[in-house]
Symmetry: C2
Subunit: 193 residues, 2 copies
DNA sequence: ATTGTGTGTCAACAGTTGTTGGCATACGGT
DNA sequence: ACCGTATGCCAACAACTGTTGACACACAAT
């Protein structure tokens, strides 16, 4: 959907489009889907609400554009098998500290069915593919990916959404040390060990 | 806040109050705070919207009453130390399969600051107290409780809110087997082992 | 200079929301 | 039988929502 086929002549309104998108991400991240109003977003971007409609069609369209998101998972086949957990948790923390897109998606996924659908797509497709890439038993791949998602999203939920004090205060490095072994076991271990 | 001091004479409207509360929990759980309208809740309870206001004051008041929630954590001091993780995850799964209160609270906590505050209270106070009860190093108690919350809430989020297929399809017994060791390590282990 | 298209503002719409006050009725105590 | 109060419904308000159409201006091409 994003224009990339033809090198479309740069439009004069590109700056406006970008401002809208930036404001939308901020508002969706801070307030969630329903509380983030088009009027507030337009006000942040210092333009008229009707511009949002012209460039993105509807509020859903705007959200779809603002929540475009790629986990950018590294190729796990190239990672030493013993460090899979650490590489993964480090990647996730780095990926969304400073990028509020995932927070926006996370908040919206709780109440907006479309956002939940998108979140499923991202984590099922991208994470499952990454887990499959380093070659576990295909029968358990989906379940391993799901377990990783549960811990990783639980971290994001408690640290960025609910803001549980212990999870906010703990330095990222300590979180890596605690959570890496969990992911490692979900990826390469068995329930028993 | 719940009437328990005086054995208040049973009011004729108790059935209505209960119906409102039941409908509210369902709607908040299914739709989240902002999409659950008072009109819809009243319609489910087969009464007039104005009754909701009379008995619960406001939408926030209704939510506060509907999201009253106790984790009912068992006394961890009475649990064999080696089974702490298993007991905990089993308790959580049993506690909220079939009780939609926590799902309502979870959904609402994403967008409603008051709900997030309440969720913090529940998990910080109740979980931290339970973890402290079996006597770990007080300096690490809060962090251990936070880590447990991150995994447990991540499970709830992926299984009941986003409904990630692998997490929905996995039987509860398998989830216990996979997640119990994680909680066990968060409670009694160190980052390294 | 004139045309056409892209960019922007303004005002208004129709629907929904939480919330309120008035009014009818049924109940419980006397 | 009477009266006060609790219970319930109805209609309406004011605010806010996403969305739309008409209109003004600026730019690029001819």
């Amino acid at each position: 959907m994003t224009a990339s086929a033809q090198p479309t002549h740069p439009r004069r309104s590109d700056a406006t489009r970008a401002a809208i998108l930036r404001a939308a991400r901020e508002r969706f991240a801070a307030d969630g889907y329903e509380r983030a109003t088009i009027r507030a977003i337009a006000s942040d971007a210092q333009i008229d609400p009707s511009m949002v409609m012209r460039y993105y069609g509807s509020k859903e369209g705007l959200f779809a554009a603002a929540a475009e998101f790629d986990l950018r998972l590294p190729d796990l086949a190239a990672v030493p098998p013993a460090h899979l957990g650490e590489v993964l948790i480090r990647h996730f923390l780095a990926r969304w500290e400073g990028d509020e897109t995932l927070v926006a998606l996370l908040r919206a996924a709780s109440t907006n069915p479309g956002a939940a659908e998108r979140m499923r797509g991202i984590f099922v497709a991208q994470l499952t593919a990454a887990v499959a890439a380093f070659g576990t038993d295909p029968a358990t791949t989906a379940r391993r990916a799901g377990l990783v998602a549960s811990q990783v999203l639980g971290l994001a939920f408690t640290r960025y959404i609910v803001r549980l004090p212990p999870m906010v205060d703990t330095p990222a490095e300590d979180l890596v040390a605690w959570i890496a072994p969990t992911l490692q076991r979900y990826l390469t271990g068995t329930p028993e060990n």
